[in-house]
């Protein structure tokens, strides 16, 4: 509890049984090489090393304040790292605006607080990026948007405004908004933490489906059921460091580090 983990969340299992179908490739699409970051004097990321292969599904977990959100926010440069290299799809992140824009185009992001644009309808939220960034003709953008709204099972909400939707629906729209950009990598920053328990499942279902299709995903979450059923790799972070990294089976059954055991026992007790 002191870690800010909702006990109810660990009990929600995604309904879809996930056969880990598509095998991940060998190609490394995201490489973090000795990444360090400070917020003022606070050393928030300490020597982070992480390789993510194409099609790999990585779940990052850990107590709050451990730097797990900061890691994925560095990958699309919402935060700037001060030391080390981050290489996404072969492009090294620097201050080069063009490189940052190119990476953001190809890396979708879903936020804890949805961050839909409240002045635009669901459909307008979905086509904004394709039209202004990818220069897609409007009709084509609308077709793509409707396809992804079908995928997240709310095509009937297309003309509504975000404020008229439930939290779970908003988060599904947010996922669809990212997918409309046809990204090759998706980042999820605690996508279910702001949701009521009964809405968590509908969002997780969408994410599980996405994982089964072979999308490269990095997901910061406390949903251990999700990690167990779809993740290839679980990364456990504490105090700005990667403490342990393993397959979910190994990590949950046989944690190597004392800090990991502590964390797991705390969330599994409930």
């Amino acid at each position: 509890m002191s870690n800010g983990i909702e006990p109810t969340q660990t009990t929600v299992e995604p309904s879809v049984d996930a056969p880990k179908t598509p095998a991940m490739g060998e190609e490394v699409v995201i490489r973090l090489d000795n990444v360090n970051k400070w917020f003022g004097h606070f050393h928030v990321l300490k020597d982070i090393n992480l390789d993510v292969r194409r099609g790999e599904r990585v779940v990052v977990c850990g107590p709050s304040g451990s730097g797990k959100s900061t890691v994925i926010r560095c990958i699309n440069r919402l935060e700037e790292h001060q030391q080390g290299d981050i290489i996404v799809n072969g492009v090294t992140l620097t201050n080069d605006v063009k490189a940052i824009e190119a990476i953001r185009k190809d890396v979708g992001m879903v936020f804890q607080s949805f961050n839909l644009f409240p002045h635009l309808t669901v459909l307008e939220n979905l086509i904004l990026g394709p039209i202004w960034v990818n220069k897609t003709p409007r009709k084509e953008a609308v077709d793509t948007a409707m396809y992804y709204l079908e995928r997240v099972k709310i095509p009937e909400q297309a003309s509504k405004y975000p404020g008229q939707l439930s939290g779970g629906q908003q988060q599904r729209v947010a996922i669809a908004r990212s997918l409309c950009m046809k990204p090759s990598i998706m980042l999820f920053d605690e996508p279910t933490s702001a949701l009521d328990p009964e809405m968590i499942k509908e969002v997780l279902d969408v994410m599980v489906e996405l994982a089964q299709e072979g999308m490269t995903m990095i997901c910061v979450t406390h949903e251990m059921g999700f990690a167990r059923s779809v993740a290839d790799t679980v990364v456990f972070m504490a105090d700005g460091q990667i403490v342990e990294k393993n397959s979910p089976k190994e990590l949950f059954a046989n944690p190597q580090e004392e800090r990991t055991r502590q964390f797991l026992s705390q969330i599994i007790q409930h």
């Binding site: 936020f111 961050n115 644009f117 904004l128 009709k139 509504k160 405004y161 975000p162 908003q170 950009m181």
Partner: protein, 405 residues
């Protein structure tokens, strides 16, 4: 117990006691109506007293009431006017000239204050330390000094710091700055110039059409044609071509010294310049804070979500931040526009002949104080309500649909 539940207005359960009897004065609806009757009664009584008192006093002093004086000759001159005016004209015309002077300074002031205010407001949010601090200093200095004092300051600067017309500053040949105001060359008006102005209007219309066309093409093909360069070309080219077609008039009226003052050219009076400067810079400080507050009111997650899609900074501002910030900015901005318009009546302090100044002289000469003040009040009310109506329309035009989130 039964008594308790019925007193709370629960539906009368079978066999429960009837509602407790209480004075009808305790009924919420009766009280509501009563308060309204009392309020209206008080307002009517005070109004009747004022009107009755005024009429009695006017009768006692043998002052004729009515608006007949508007047709009489005013007999006094004003220093500047948008329309033709001479002392032989009527009071009605001098008041109209005053109103037009008020509108002139207000409209130019509103446009300039909005521009400066928006720039300062955004600058105060800048990451650049110097820019942000300078903007803060500007805002704090301007909004913490009374406007009347600022008007005196600008008027004194122009009157004292600038030289006499004979030694006028001439930064560019033919452009003179002196304590009689600012004088600059002005073309002798001929058909060619009228055509040039028509060309400007045409350019605006065509650019607007090009912009609509660009949006349509973007919808069909995804590529948005550039409008900026053809737009600039139109704004320069069309007036020049039409001016040439109109005979390419080149005669320019250049101001020159004649006796103690200038003759020819066009001029901006020191009174108008001081009033415009004061009103604009003062109101811009408030508008800057409104703009800053509006932009800050948009949650930072909106910026993050927009840049995460790959949108460029300018597009984030235009497509995501500004539409949301404007909803917060418009209502207080309307108040500032009204303030600027009404504050323009401080013109009387530095001798700019606005509505209040001309009405004031008219009142002094005719003694028709009630009518004069009534005209001032009705005019400001009309102008203010017009501004409000326009801004309310604009606000509902950009308002957030579909509830808040």
């Amino acid at each position: 117990m039964a008594d308790h539940s019925s007193a709370r207005g629960a539906p009368a359960a079978k066999g429960s006691a009837p509602p407790r009897k209480t004075s009808f004065l305790n009924d919420q609806r009766v009280r509501g109506v009563l308060y309204q009757i009392l309020t209206i009664g008080a307002v009517v009584a005070v109004g009747w007293y004022l009107v009755h008192n005024t009429l009695t006093n006017l009768a006692a002093r043998d002052i004729a009431t009515g608006f007949g004086f508007l047709d009489r000759e005013a007999g006094f001159d004003i220093s500047e006017s948008v329309i033709e005016y001479s002392p032989a004209d009527t009071y009605g015309r001098v008041l109209l000239a005053g109103l037009l002077n008020t509108l002139k300074v207000s409209i130019i002031g509103i446009v300039l204050a909005t521009l400066i205010g928006t720039i300062i407001g955004i600058a105060r949010l800048s990451n650049n330390w110097l820019v942000a601090k300078l903007s803060s200093v500007y805002v704090e200095a301007m909004r913490n000094v009374p406007l009347l004092l600022q008007l005196f300051f600008w008027y004194a600067i122009i009157g004292v710091a600038l030289p006499h017309p004979r030694e006028a500053l001439e930064p560019v040949e033919g452009w003179f700055l002196s304590n009689r105001g600012f004088r600059f060359p002005y073309p002798v008006w001929e058909t060619g110039w009228t055509l040039a102005v028509i060309g400007l209007v045409l350019a605006a219309v065509i650019t607007w059409w090009l912009n609509k066309r660009a949006a349509r093409i973007q919808g069909e093909t995804g590529r948005r044609p550039n409008v900026l360069i053809p737009g600039i070309a139109l704004f320069i080219g069309l007036p020049v071509i039409l001016w040439a077609l109109g005979g390419a008039p080149t005669a320019i009226d250049v101001p020159e010294m004649a006796g103690f003052n200038f003759r020819g050219g066009a001029s901006v009076s020191p009174e108008f310049a001081a009033l415009l400067l004061g009103l604009t810079l003062y109101t811009a400080a408030f508008i800057a804070e409104i703009v800053r507050g509006g932009i800050l009111s948009v949650h930072y997650g909106q910026t993050e979500a927009a840049v995460a899609l790959g949108l460029k900074r300018g597009l984030v501002m235009r497509l995501v931040l500004l539409p949301q910030a404007l909803r917060v900015i418009i209502p207080p901005l309307t108040s500032q526009y009204l303030n600027l318009t009404k504050n323009s009546s401080l013109a009387i302090a530095i001798g700019y002949p606005d509505l209040v100044a001309t009405a004031n002289t008219s009142i002094n000469q005719t003694g028709q104080a009630v009518e004069g003040v009534a005209i001032i009040m009705a005019t400001y009310l009309t102008v203010s309500l017009s501004i409000s109506a326009f801004m309310n329309w604009y606000n509902s035009y950009i308002a957030l649909r579909g509830g808040r989130s």
